[in-house]
Symmetry: C2
Subunit: 127 residues, 2 copies
DNA sequence: TGCTTGCATTGACGTCTATCGATACAAAGC
DNA sequence: GCTTTGTATCGATAGACGTCAATGCAAGCA
């Protein structure tokens, strides 16, 4: 099963569950650092909220008051973090979100674990 | 109702729901930046996973190969981000987690919204 | 009062990072 | 082939950030 607590290579005990070791902390910090820039957050949300799931770079760049190399740089960082991926199709390059990484982070931050939320809802519904 | 989508002052549409505007992106980026350091992540997890919910600084500092001012600096950043808070009691200072901020971030990152997860569980249970 | 301990603040230093202009590369059209 | 357009990479620079030693401050104790 994937995403279970405790295995070393995978991720992660959950913030509230247990103290992180150095390796887990370093790995997670990379991801959060990638999210720790307003330009990258806007890029990510523009990609993630796109119906169809894909966005051409040519649709992203003009939305910012920044140079094209700067946008390309931020996209590269998001991609290296495993948050998005891309593919070239002819002249254009398309980006899309990798939801697995986002959901891992989301589950890590939740102080009431996602499983508990679902369990609570289930209990409430069946009561 | 708090935490609902769409209001400007509050937070946030959800990454997948709609593109962020500049203000929302800047606000969220501050939070993620605070999480984007392995030392701060370890500090936060040490505080969050503590049974009783509180930790004395004197229990945090020796866990790191860093100077006491450095730890104090990181705790200050976490506090300024609204992730933790602290109180002095006599000689010692105690820190605890503010779960609201963490849960906001968790909900923001979830590609399948938390409400949907609960709704799905409810539907499944009542079916 | 003076001493000691726990924690925060200050100031300085090296490193990382966001940004840009210039350039390189890839694909399409001429 | 050459030119044009879209995107990535390179090199440089200003500012942000993590770290430390030194210092300051608050609280307890002799």
């Amino acid at each position: 099963m994937i995403g279970q607590d405790g295995e070393s290579g995978g991720c992660c005990p959950g913030l509230v569950t247990a103290p992180l070791d150095d390796v887990q902390a370093a790995e997670l910090a990379k991801l959060f650092k990638a999210l720790g820039d307003p330009v990258r957050l806007r890029l990510l949300s523009m990609i993630a909220s796109r119906s169809g799931g894909e966005v051409c770079v040519c649709d992203l760049t003009p939305a910012f008051d920044l140079s094209q190399p700067t946008i390309s740089h931020h996209l590269k960082l998001l991609r290296q973090a495993g948050l998005i991926d891309c593919e070239r199709r002819g002249t254009w390059v398309y980006y899309w979100v990798l939801p697995g990484t986002l959901d891992r982070l989301s589950a890590f931050l939740a102080t009431a674990r996602t499983a508990d939320v679902a369990a609570a809802a289930t209990a409430e519904a069946t009561a």
